[in-house]
């Protein structure tokens, strides 16, 4: 037990150099990227006159797809980033000015039927404000399959897992993940009672143990543990 505490303390001090910019930690930056994704999904409009109109006023409105109002320009990102999120990465970016990109967050959807995995990259400045336009591209990060979460969407479940880490910033076990988070993967799992939970596995690096935070489908915290892989 004592040696685990010592190891975690060393990890915490090592991570301080990767840790943050202007008081925004990597875990906080990840949370802010999720908020950005949420906003971009809310605002999503295809603006494509070659496709059918999809608006809330229409009887056939499909909220799982972007709105398509021909009179307005294309913007936002598709709702699948909110509903099919499976992984994220977060990195510090070298910069000289406060307003320059300081964090780069990438969110990955589950692979589609064509086997391709969509990703969106969002940059934040030192204060955690979005910088520049989001960039979508095909990528490959995780082979996790999509899952139909029965209550809250997966970005909300992931956000709630991050809240647990943010609140635990002063906790010796959680501090390294607060400061040095580099990626997370979300998969369906089971808690001790055999109930469905979202297992959000957070990594600092491949060499270090994983922090697993379990969140119930309604968004409530379930449990957490350090997983030695």
């Amino acid at each position: 037990m004592k040696s685990a505490v010592v190891i975690l303390g060393v990890l915490a001090s090592l991570q301080s150099s990767r840790a943050e910019a202007h008081g925004v930690s990597l875990a906080k930056a990840t949370e802010l990227v999720l908020h950005r994704i949420e906003r971009l999904v809310i605002l999503c409009n295809l603006g494509d006159s070659t496709q059918p109109v999809n608006l809330p006023s229409q009887p056939a409105y499909d909220p799982s797809r972007c709105k398509n109002d021909w009179s307005k320009p294309k913007k936002g990102i598709e709702p699948n980033y909110q509903n099919r999120l499976v992984a994220m990465t977060i990195d510090l970016i070298a910069h000289t000015e406060e307003e320059e990109p300081s964090f780069r967050g990438v969110a990955f959807q589950a692979k589609g039927p064509d086997g391709l995995q969509k990703s969106v990259t969002i940059d934040l400045d030192e204060e955690g404000r979005p910088v520049g336009k989001e960039i979508e591209k095909m990528a490959s990060f995780s082979s996790v399959e999509t899952f139909a979460w029965p209550d809250k969407d997966v970005t909300t479940l992931t956000e709630n897992a991050l809240h647990f880490v943010l609140e635990g910033a002063a906790n010796l076990t959680l501090a390294p993940y607060f400061q040095g988070l580099s990626s997370l993967v979300v998969t369906p799992g089971k808690n001790a009672a055999g109930e469905l939970v979202a297992s959000v596995d957070m990594k600092i690096s491949d060499q270090e143990p994983v922090l697993r935070v379990r969140i119930k489908p309604n968004g409530d915290f379930d449990s957490s543990e350090i997983v030695k892989e």
Binding site: G23, S25, K28, L32, H35, R36, E38, R39, I42, L43, L55, P56, S57, K75, R129, P130, D151, T156, E159, N160, H163, L166, E167, G168, A169, A170, N218, G219, D220
Partner: protein
């Protein structure tokens, strides 16, 4: 014997009445600075009155149309048109919510009292910061006196203990308002930003700087409203300590009281929008969450102003 018992009961009732908690939103005595912010900055003051009007109007409309809105875009557009008209031609006095929103007042009596009491604190702090000749310890002392008076009315004071964002976003109905009515949500977050940034503007050391800063905040506020939803930059509710760091340094626990108020506004919006909240449950949920807003232990954050 019976007469003695009656006398004992009578005394007991009188004593209980004198120590019972009062829940009126009447600030007595009214601070000597009350509404002087409006004398110095009439445009900003009228906008604050317009925000109260706007909040009440949107709650009333959501309530009257609860679980019946078939075209949220059209509903939002109509509401925005009406609210913008009020913002462009704001009232010069605070409107009584009972006149604008009787259904809301009936359904959310405790919440309304919490909001009204909190808004009085908002106002009187602005009044002191806008008019205090002393810009140091005397000004700080005066604001803290007002804050103490605010907190002493425990029946209707929202707690000044930090809560996590889960207080706002962690419920079965959460995020409904921002997803169905994104432009209106951003209008409300812009209101809250405006209120918070006024505190920061009024922390400037000289009157000239304060005047300039208030004008800049007002100007930026209108820019945020110019082309909703794209013109307002908020991905999340603006937080007082982040948007007003100097104010937060001087008055470290007032930010949480304001943020908890703003989160409660969002909670009411979500309760009224979400189809998961039956019409018959609205009043009970209003009470439940109002009590949570007052409870320092509910969704208590370990890290005030740090995350």
């Amino acid at each position: 014997m019976i007469r003695r018992l009656i006398a004992v009961f009578a005394v007991a009732i009188v004593c209980l009445q004198s120590i019972s908690v009062r829940a009126e939103t009447i600030w007595y005595p009214l601070p000597k600075e009350a509404y002087t912010f409006g004398t110095k900055y009439p445009e900003a003051q009228k906008l604050l009155f317009a925000f109260d009007y706007g909040h009440a109007l949107v709650y009333e409309r959501l309530l009257l149309n609860k679980n019946k809105i078939t075209d949220p875009e059209a509903f939002e557009q109509q509401l925005l048109t009406e609210i913008m008209a009020i913002l462009y031609n704001p009232p010069s006095v605070k409107a009584d919510e009972g006149d604008i929103a009787p259904t809301y007042v009936y359904q959310f009596p405790l919440t309304l009292n919490l909001f009204d009491w909190s808004h009085l604190l908002h106002q009187f702090v602005l009044d002191v910061l806008a008019t205090s000749v002393d810009r140091g310890d005397a000004m700080k002392k005066r604001v803290n006196e007002l804050f103490d008076q605010y907190k002493s009315n425990t029946a209707i004071a929202i707690t000044d203990v930090c809560k996590t964002m889960l207080f706002m976003d962690g419920h079965y109905f959460s995020k409904s308002f921002r997803r169905q009515f994104p432009s209106f949500n951003l209008l409300i977050w812009s209101y809250h930003w405006f209120q918070i940034r006024l505190y920061e503007a009024l922390m400037k050391p000289t009157e000239t700087e304060r005047n300039k800063a208030v004008a800049k905040v007002t100007d930026t506020f209108w820019k945020y409203l110019s082309d909703l939803p794209d013109s307002a930059p908020f991905d999340m509710m603006p937080e007082t300590a982040k948007e007003a760091p100097e104010f937060a340094k001087w008055f470290p626990t007032i930010p949480a009281a304001f943020d908890n108020n703003h989160m409660m506004h969002d909670i009411v919006s979500d309760i009224l929008t979400s189809e998961k909240v039956a019409v018959t449950k609205v009043r009970a949920e209003g009470f439940r969450f109002a009590r949570m807003a007052q409870d320092p232990e509910a969704f208590r954050s370990q890290l005030c102003g740090q995350n």
